[in-house]
Symmetry: C2
Amino acid sequence: MVTISDIAAALGVTPSTVSRALSGSPRVKEETRLAVEQMAAEMGYERNVVASNLRKGKSDIVGIIVPRIHRNFFSNVIGGAESILEAAGYCVLICQTHERLEAEMKALRTLRNNQVAGVLMSHAIGALDGKHILDALGSHIPLVQFDRVFSDLPGAKVVSNNFEGAYAATRHLAEQGYRHIGTLAGYMNSEAYAARLEGWRQALRDCGLPEGEVYEDTIVRETGFEAGLKAIDAGCDALYSAGDFSALGAVEAARSRGLRIPEDFGIVGTANETFTSLMTPSISSLALNPFEMGRQAAQAFLSGEEGTVVVPMELKVRESSCRIHSENQIPDKPCLK
Amino acid sequence: MVTISDIAAALGVTPSTVSRALSGSPRVKEETRLAVEQMAAEMGYERNVVASNLRKGKSDIVGIIVPRIHRNFFSNVIGGAESILEAAGYCVLICQTHERLEAEMKALRTLRNNQVAGVLMSHAIGALDGKHILDALGSHIPLVQFDRVFSDLPGAKVVSNNFEGAYAATRHLAEQGYRHIGTLAGYMNSEAYAARLEGWRQALRDCGLPEGEVYEDTIVRETGFEAGLKAIDAGCDALYSAGDFSALGAVEAARSRGLRIPEDFGIVGTANETFTSLMTPSISSLALNPFEMGRQAAQAFLSGEEGTVVVPMELKVRESSCRIHSENQIPDKPCLK
DNA sequence: CCGGATAATACAAACGTTTGCACAAACATC
DNA sequence: GATGTTTGTGCAAACGTTTGTATTATCCGG
């Protein structure tokens, strides 16, 4: 492995000059810099980033912690963040928590021990507050939270307009004539889910509909199925689900009770997972904009600004919630107006 | 940040003793080790892995390079590898190449510069051979290839039984009465796709069917759609697709030509992406076993053994290829026997 | 009680880079 | 031409750990 000392020796200068030349310091003569660069290229030098990191006390690695990478939402956030960070010379260390708090803590420790330049994260559902995050990262590792955020933690945050999105989704169901709209609410220790719940509630009030049933802790297919059955038994004719997998479960629940979708039962999910547009019936979904959220999170890290960025959601109206003129509907196109 | 020197000072020993104590060297007294461990815990010490890595010349990071993390297949491979590596004390650095050779080379350089302990990878389609991999990793960073492998490179390999899988898929189509079976073959510079092509070819021969059309470079929805149209125009009544997204495109192509699936046109895809079982019609797919492949790849890295591990594929028969008694079929259950 | 083996620890040199400070030379200012 | 300022380099000390070798303490048999 060729080091800066080798280059220095070959050129009759000192390692410090080589180091400065390669890092673009204004304190070396243009001529020297060129000589160094040429010799470095010639000898096939590549900087030992581990040594560099040790000396500088931080690395060019940015850690991203997500519950699960195979969720469309998260893999797209990662993609968005990567597109920005890579251009800025960082590389990305991805950790999955599988929604487990202990895995999240381990990931945080790992990242800190590797002296990452920053952490972008969406916390596990198992985490009740962000204390462990603060403890692990201390004050010198910048933190950017996205989607699931603890708003009392310092640092930048990137979120969706969950309240408005859920409001629009619920209102859409009401406009389609559904009158008893429940919700699969997700986990209440996540502010994102809590905001969606409030949006749903407000929409019901504004539409003059009675308070609907709330089914918490529903986020996967199985729990969506069970809650869907309960909702049907409780007399619901529609559900706004804060997740797509649980919406899928609810669709299956309705089917298993012999209900037609959307004629007898309407459903809107959240996240716009790939399958929602491919299924029959296709599932209406409140789309997040994960790629953009990833980009914004990365930008926030790079700029160091601390504010909260709101990335708007978009309601994708599909078959599962369109019972007005539903035979004319084309999936993915709004059916109103 | 508390260092081993701090612990040493507090205990009146030297840093070297502390280091040895913490790394479990037999050259420290049991009593000293306990004292060190206790003091370390008390002071909240955590090893600076960057310094450790520099000194040791390698890190506890294992790099995983995949074309795209949001593909179900790859995210599950990562999950499988992670489950093994994490237990062994490694952490995982994930890089995406987006199928671009230059991104792959950059990822390899990044990993080498970070002195990773090993690399697990599935090469980008853009790569014609593995020379750049060898160049980047040299001989001292162990390499494990999975799924898409260059068989002339050294190191362990984990692959599916692509030939046998494609053979079974094609045979299944023939047994369903399809007589003109083409293939969406993927990219021929990948040995995995080449093997599937051969399996398809052999099945046609063994079933006494004529040689079918081959559409190369089909791997995404759009190219699958285009190739699907061509296949239909060429008189095909079925396709074995080496990917699911291209199979999806082909389904859409058949629909756009007014063909009924599976009555008029049969399709089997590959990879068992989530959407295949949720669509209508559900798409039959040749399932890989990504989680197991990831586990095997990680095991191969840990053990250092160089052989080739074959993980079997499993044909999931669904609606898109079941025209015999197709109204009785239940998705996901085989319809034969 | 001494010589030699063994056990436990100390010493010091790495690993490759970065960076504050010192230093010399060149240049500008009065 | 003395003084101050800029410009380019060299020197050396870090960063925190690991590890080969030297050193001391401990123990044994004779």
